[in-house]
Assembly symmetry: C2
Homo-oligomer: 206 residues x 2
């Protein structure tokens, strides 16, 4: 199909498609004439993935890395997850002290060598942010975070498709990244529900 | 203290402090001379909160609204949580169908009227993103999300401080927003730990 039809099928405007082509997010179509290229259903699918990643707050550079992981996945399912996380994780800053982060994630069953250091750096950065704001997670809440998050991760990893490598790649890469906005939105709803049940009163306006 | 000392104590540069003053994030100091203002420990504290919010990915406009909620909190603890969420939630788009989101959050104990519609709009947007990417959360995983997230929210709301209104405000507003990066980082670590346990192999490089 031509770019105009690709636009119609995907709901993405032609200038935006051209931008994705320039940024290397979308592979070039097959050249059918000097000024014309042909696109296929893989381009439609890829546009859906690009939009979903960008809408989830993933940057253009990170999206490019996530797509590269999808296109050329590393050998094992475990390495794949590491590559997906690396694509969306800022490298850990030189000289950052990971001791506190490591002590915390021991509560998730973490042992040295089971996890990419950049991801530990994210934990350290989040703890820093809380400290700078003078915010302390209550003692009783932190163990609940660790237990519940571990339950979530176990269920996710156990559900990795085993029928095809391609399905496993999609599941691990997209599931890890795209589910984040859903979990945060569900937490806000759950907090409001729990708060309504505990403190009473309903929100006006709905 | 002068602005130079506020900078030294907070670790925020003078030009950045001036930017926060212009943006209305930081209240003006007490005018001590036509070209000089005096700042106090509340300014140091406030700078810590501003940095933590911005570092957590909250926009300048959202940070302004979160701070306004901290400064002039609504009456009840439940309304407060709604205001905190509203400050960081994009208003729900006109005409968005919330049916699927509502059906999902029933699994959190949601009933009509217990939750701000904008927060439901976030759930709908997250579900849209997954659908556009052609990603389906496996049947067995979704109930685990709902149960675990509800367990987390219950623990958080139960730990709301009751000793002072100010402490409750800080806890609800900052706890809801600032803990998000921590939970996402913990999930990535937990996924890698669960994946290492299930598929074996350790990451190289750590």
């Amino acid at each position: 199909m031509r770019i105009s039809e690709l636009s119609a099928q995907s709901g993405v405007t032609v200038p935006t498609i051209k931008y994705y082509l320039r940024e290397g997010l979308l592979p070039e179509g097959e050249r059918s004439a000097p000024t014309q290229a042909a696109y296929g259903s893989l381009h439609v699918q890829r546009l859906g993935v690009i939009r979903a990643l960008l809408d989830a707050g993933v940057s253009v550079a990170e999206t490019r890395r996530v797509l590269a992981t999808l296109d050329a996945p590393p050998g094992s399912a475990h390495e794949l997850l590491g590559a997906a996380h690396a694509a969306i994780t800022r490298p850990v800053d030189e000289g950052v002290d990971l001791t506190e982060a490591e002590r915390l994630v021991e509560g998730l069953g973490w042992k040295p060598g089971t996890c990419d250091p950049d991801v530990l750096g994210d934990v350290a950065r989040a703890l820093d942010g809380l400290e700078r704001a003078g915010f302390t997670v209550p003692d009783g809440v932190l163990p609940v975070y660790l237990q519940s998050i571990r339950v979530i991760a176990d269920a996710e990893i156990a559900a990795t498709p085993s029928d095809s490598a391609e399905a496993a790649v999609r599941y691990v890469v997209l599931g890890s990244v795209l589910v984040e906005p859903l979990l945060l939105a569900l937490r806000r709803v759950a907090e409001q529900v729990a708060s309504a049940e505990r403190f009473g009163g309903t929100k006006t306006g709905d």
